[in-house]
Amino acid sequence: MAIRRGRGVAAVNYPTGMNLGGDPSQALVHSTPTGNFMVTLSSVDLGQGLKQIMAQICAETIGVSADQVTIDTADTDTGPHCMGTFASRGTHRIGNAVIQAATEAKQVMLEVAADELEVNASDLETDGAGNIHVKGAPQKSISIFDTALAAHFKRGRSISGRGMFLIPRSFPEVETGAMKPSTCYAHACTVAEVDVDDETGEVTVVSVKNVFEIGRALNPKMVEQQLVGGSWMGISHALYETTEPYYPNRDHRGIDFNQYLMPGPGDLAETEIVVLERPAADGPYGAKGPGEMCANPQIPALANAIFDAVGVRIDHLPITPERVLRALKAQRAA
């Protein structure tokens, strides 16, 4: 009886969005009298940080700092329609709607600034630090603060914009299944290393090395947060979680976190993340949706690593110590 080490690999892709159901989201953007910006949505932040990313996308598009953008969301009286936060669609779909709304608002802002500076709006650009200036002549400038005041109190303009992103619904062709289930795909490859105790069937995840291609890392810290969390969830799916451990038998159903198992802090694997960026043609600043994908490749990589370690295949998730032990027993009997 011994601890045996093995490693396995898996590579996956993942569709962004839910074209098979139709995939619309809308956004509204307007400026306050002093040149701060409100983004109004009905999208839901599930804790992943949707509001922060939308603020950064709006800020990038208009040319202000992200802390000047406030996100007002998840209120059906004020926010325009959003299909929902799922299908890895938030950043991509809602982000595109925010870009369109912010672009329209920015155009009005530049027109007001042009009137104030007595130049053409097409000659103006933002510096990303709160100012608008003539291209190539940064000394001829006006602050966004003054521009917004002028719009509100002098020029009678509404610095605002409407944004809409819609992927029309794809209906699968009946006989061939020709369909367009998404617009772009994120990618991943994971190498997992495990120790398997061939006496107890217990699997210890030594390390997971994940490479993710996500289009564009719009906020690398938040990308890291999501990818590390997803990687943990993948491990949990592979080795721990189920509401029905003896499916299709319905016995032994977990009803709380004492019975429904997940890896705890002591079970965390050494996790390495490498991110590649191949911008999506239709992504907001190239971003794809990695939210779901990042929990997938660890599962088969671990199954393959367990085979590499002890030579048994567990083709039924989750790969519990009991299943490993039964397979080892069958292997020895054979």
Binding site: M18, P220, E241, T243, D315, L317
Partner: protein
């Protein structure tokens, strides 16, 4: 812990962003870590009622009678609701995108089809009173044979789970399953050096959000209802509520906010309609929040799946044919499962170019907790099956598993089985980087490959 590998695809990016591409601190994080973030359940209203559901103790049973008289007399009880109180009691949530039929009862009228199905809603001044009164509801059941196994459910003579479908599978416009047909799969198997058929299975998985599903419905002075909810989709839930309650949408005001984790577990419309109905009928605010047990066993999990994959492979590593049958255990009702099952159909070749593909995906009904969306819906378990299958195929032909994937990896322009040309491929580069990061050597020719279309 994370590294951005900027050397890949550098020719496709202008790294000139100012507010993006930088790791700004999330503006909401200080609130989260200091306990100041407001969640829907942090609100309290005068005279608020608590809703507790009387649920089916049987997997499959006919309801002979429902007696709520003792429960109604229990101290603190304001109202007891049955199916008779629900204006449009038979519903299905994807009806909003024309995916019917309506197949589920908000409160069971004639039958229960899974253990835990909602039958009677009790409203009381306190959770304790609601629970005590719920225990006094008497439902007379005639227990029926139940089916839990997808193979048994699809076999002739199986008990019928859901009369609204007429069969124990969802009927697509393509019949009992969604089809993908590409190339000539039989010819592919005939030409293959080896054929490998394997079966993969998974058990249901709970989304396990920190915050359980719930809402608080408040009747307003202007004849509208405000619903504070942690749904993942505001208008999807509002519009479904409008149908179930036969109440115009303008009467409804949904307020969300930060949700304590969703993972797909909060896209079914299970609490809002009944809470708003209760608020309307009592004129009082109503709180309906799942216990942890309800979150684990009542709220929809990720479906169990069974996936059969048969592949034809050449000695040189090329996969020349793939045949897949995928089965999704929807439990007793559709919810989002018909969608997930067909999403899977398009996914089965995975990120590989395979010239001959045949995929059938089935959405199967059994007498268990309805399954629904979860992170990786229609894809996660498929990826498990596909990538373990890839490992087996590589070993079958004595090839390194990573090199085997390079040989089959899709590249820009390759036609996928669901007849979309590949765009923006990056699998090869991910594997090249993984080879380096994990010190898993592959032949030089694979490190020189590119996802770009050759010109």
């Amino acid at each position: 812990m994370m590294r951005l590998a900027k050397e890949y695809f550098a020719d496709q990016r202008d790294d000139d962003l100012k507010q993006l591409g930088v790791g700004l601190q999330r503006s909401d994080v200080p609130g989260h870590v200091t306990g100041k973030t407001t969640y829907f359940a942090d609100r309290n209203f005068p005279r608020m009622l608590h809703l507790k559901m009387v649920r089916s103790p049987h997997h499959h049973a006919r309801i002979r009678s429902i007696d709520t008289s003792e429960a109604e007399k229990h101290p603190g009880v304001a109202r007891v609701l049955t199916h008779k109180d629900v204006p449009h009691n038979v519903y299905t949530i994807l009806i909003l995108i024309q995916v019917g039929p309506e197949d589920e009862q908000v409160l069971a009228a004639d039958k229960v089809r899974w253990k835990g199905e909602a039958v009677v809603a009790v409203l009381a001044d306190s959770e304790r009173a609601a629970n005590e009164a719920a225990a006094k509801v008497k439902v007379d059941y005639e227990v029926l044979p139940a089916v839990f196994d997808m193979d048994e459910a699809l076999a002739p003579g199986a008990p019928l789970v859901n009369e609204y479908h007429g069969n124990n599978y969802y009927t697509y416009d393509s019949g009992s399953h969604r089809k993908v047909r590409f190339g000539d799969v039989e010819q592919g198997f005939a030409q293959a050096d080896f054929v490998l058929e394997e079966t993969y299975r998974s058990s249901p998985i709970e989304q396990a959000p920190t915050e359980t599903t719930g809402c608080i419905a408040v009747p307003e002075g202007n004849d509208r209802f405000t619903c504070y909810t942690n749904t993942q989709a505001m208008f999807f839930t509002l519009d479904n509520t409008s149908i179930i309650l036969q109440m115009p949408g303008h009467k409804l005001h949904f307020v969300g906010g930060t949700v304590g984790g969703g993972f797909g577990g909060k896209v079914d419309v299970t609490v809002e309609p009944i809470a708003i109905l209760a608020a309307k009928l009592t004129g009082r605010p109503v709180s309906f929040i799942y216990t942890r047990e309800e979150e684990m066993q009542i709220s929809s999990p990720r479906a169990a799946e069974k996936i059969v994959i048969k592949d034809g492979v050449m000695k040189d590593g090329r996969i020349v044919a793939r045949y897949v049958k995928g089965y999704t255990d929807a439990g007793a009702y559709s919810r989002h499962s018909p969608y997930g099952a067909q999403k899977g159909a398009a996914h089965y070749p995975g990120p590989y170019t395979i010239p001959n593909v045949w995929a059938d995906t089935y959405c199967v009904y059994t007498n268990r907790t309805p399954s629904s969306a979860m992170r990786g819906f229609g894809v996660t378990i498929a990826d498990f099956a596909l990538e373990v299958q890839m490992d087996k195929l590589a070993r079958l032909i004595s090839m390194d598993p990573l090199e085997f994937r390079f040989i089959n990896a899709y590249r820009d322009g390759d036609m996928k089985a669901h007849r979309q040309p590949t765009e923006g491929a990056a699998l090869i580069e991910c594997m090249q980087e993984a080879s380096k990061a994990a010190n898993w050597p592959v032949a030089e020719k694979f490190l020189k490959m590119s996802s770009y279309k050759e010109t």
